[in-house]
């Protein structure tokens, strides 16, 4: 055994200050754990209660029939036309929002002079802050008053909501692309746009998909902008985007408004389906994100 230098021994002894530091440390750890547990608990409670309340209505009939509302008696309908409607709405919204959002983000991050980029960024932030009901009213006054309600009008409203989300997340991803790629491209004598299209965009594709899927998940649950734009729908299935269509959020709303409790169960069940859809999309986005990370790190 070697002798311990007494000064070294002194160095690591526990005194009052060390003890207090330890306690503070424990408390902070505890608080953080409780906070995150709360977040998880909220999700679990929501999912459990939605699924449990809607469970009795979740059968094959529910997915193969369209809603029917009669003020008396039990509900007979399902949500087939609502699912189809939601798919149409989300698909068109994505179609509108993705090109504009992604190109806008490329413009802001890669091409625009700094001042102009700031203006565009501010505009996108303002759009992001718009209450969705206002977006709905805007589309109502711009389109619906003249053309009448349609799936397209609803999609447009959803696209306006998705646009800043996609643009913002794309900007974030573009910022993750090392500037050394841009330098490398330019140093080869490639024009800027070739570098963006050939290097930057492929590199960030995964991240852009992530942002897009999250935006899709978000707008799939929107109700307010649809009230003015595509709420007066027939309860039958329609694939025609120029006609108003049913949608899941609105159907929840309508089922919940009915007096008979069997309708309420259907509202819960529709909620469960919507929840499941959003969850699925979120998981998909996680998958894209992981792929993007792998690509960037080799």
């Amino acid at each position: 055994m070697t002798d311990v230098d007494p000064r070294a021994q002194q160095l690591f002894l526990t005194d009052g200050r060390v003890r207090r530091r330890r306690i503070v440390n424990r408390v902070m750890e505890g608080l953080a754990t409780v906070a995150s547990a709360t977040a998880v608990a909220v999700l679990v409670i929501v999912v459990v209660s939605v699924v449990r309340n809607g469970w009795p209505a979740l059968n094959a009939n529910f997915f193969t029939t369209s809603p029917s509302f009669s003020a008396f008696g039990e509900s007979q309908g399902g949500i087939l036309s609502s699912i189809v409607g939601s798919v149409i709405l989300v698909a068109f919204a994505t179609l509108f929002a993705v090109p504009v959002g992604v190109l806008g983000a490329i413009f802001v991050s890669e091409l625009a002079p700094r001042r102009l980029a700031n203006v565009v960024r501010l505009a996108l932030d303002v759009i992001n802050g718009l209450p969705t009901i206002v977006t709905g009213i805007f589309v109502f006054s711009a389109l619906v008053l003249a053309q009448g309600q349609s799936a397209l009008a609803g999609s447009l409203a959803l696209a306006i909501i998705a646009l800043p989300l996609i643009a913002r997340s794309t900007q974030e991803v573009l910022r993750l692309v090392p500037s050394s790629y841009r330098e490398a491209g330019l140093a080869l004598g490639a024009p800027r746009w070739r570098t963006v299209v050939g290097i930057i965009l492929p590199t960030s594709l995964g991240g852009i998909l992530t942002g897009t899927t999250l935006a899709v998940a978000r707008v799939a649950g929107e109700t307010a902008p649809l009230l003015f734009t595509t709420s007066l729908a027939a309860t039958t299935v329609t694939w025609d985007p120029t006609q108003p269509v049913q949608s899941m959020p609105l159907t929840i709303f309508q089922y919940a408004e009915q007096p008979d409790p069997s309708f309420h169960t259907k509202a819960w069940a529709t909620g469960a389906v919507l929840l499941f859809f959003v969850l699925l999309v979120s998981l998909a986005s996680k998958f894209f994100l992981a792929r993007a990370r792998r690509k960037l790190s080799g």
Binding site: P113, R114, P178, S180, Y181, R182, E183, A184, G185, L186, A187, L188, G189, A190, P191, R194, G198, I199, P202, T203, K295, L296, S297, G298
Partner: protein
């Protein structure tokens, strides 16, 4: 025996190794830099630099941190254009043509004057596509495979990668990545290769390979290298420019060219005291 047979010999050429006296050899000017000053906004970075860079030689730029080495080398292919606040004064003549003349397209400049950066930055693509990308963009698509192979051979990387051209470039080691970046730059057939601290993130063996590469490449290219490693400059460069920091009357600090000479001169008997202090490690 007659003395003639013993001593009467043709005078022997003092056969020193080939590039011993590059400064006195016939040489062709590639860059003629005249009174070049660069500033970022109101902050000066390099002030009043004038010297010439010669063809088929390795010219090293050395100096302490902040002396404007990187700023300087980036003016040679207009990479500083990417920094909005950068302002360039004076002339950078490339074979007599001012690179900063209003009609000159910086994209065209960079085709002729390639660059390799401090950290290896291969694209997240396959090894083949890394080299082929520039060729495709510049429309040099004939004999694409041959061109890629030739570039990889020039960069002494072909034997390492010939069997995995389709694999991701990011799977290569740091030294291999840097040689890939050199191959990528060479593929588009530049005349000049600018290297901004090309080995600073590499281990000694990878560094040595890059240095050997420069030695071979200067037969076909003109190379300018910025390095904070004096010994590296001593090893690879024919000519060395020493940049230092100067304090202007208003207190701002700026880089300036102190001495430019044959590398052996700089490292055996520099004419400026500041150069001597720097290369011997006696600062200030």
């Amino acid at each position: 025996m007659s003395g003639d047979t013993i001593l009467n010999v043709a005078p022997i050429e003092i056969a020193q190794s080939r590039e011993r006296r590059p400064v006195t050899a016939a040489r062709e000017t590639v860059f003629d830099i005249r009174n070049l000053s660069v500033s970022y906004g109101k902050t000066p970075a390099v002030k009043d630099v004038s010297f010439e860079i010669y063809r088929n030689m390795v010219t090293a730029i050395i100096g302490p941190s902040g002396c404007g080495k990187s700023t300087f080398i980036r003016t040679l292919n207009r990479m500083n254009d990417l920094v909005p606040s950068a302002k360039v004064e004076g002339d950078v003549l490339y074979h007599g043509q001012d690179l900063y003349a209003s009609r000159v397209d910086p994209v065209q400049v960079r085709r002729k004057i390639g660059m390799v950066f401090q950290r290896p930055n291969p694209f997240p693509k396959s090894i083949f596509d890394n080299v082929a990308w520039g060729l495709r963009v510049l429309g040099m698509k004939d004999n694409l495979k041959d061109r890629v192979q030739h570039a990889l051979e020039q960069a002494a990387l072909w034997d390492d990668v010939r069997h995995r051209l389709k694999k991701s470039a990011l799977g290569l080691s740091g030294g291999q990545q840097q040689r890939l970046c050199i191959a990528r730059a060479l593929a588009v057939e530049p005349e000049v290769l600018l290297m901004d601290e090309p080995a600073s993130s590499l281990d000694p063996i990878a560094t040595s390979r890059i240095e050997d590469l420069m030695h071979t490449l200067k037969r076909d290219y003109t190379i300018v290298i910025v390095t904070h490693n004096m010994q590296q400059a001593a090893r690879v460069a024919d000519l060395t420019a020493f940049f230092s920091l100067d304090v202007l009357p208003d207190g701002a600090r700026t880089g300036l060219l102190v001495e430019y000479d044959a590398t052996e001169k700089i490292f055996t008997q520099p004419s400026d005291k500041r150069t001597e202090d720097y290369v011997t490690g006696r600062f200030g």
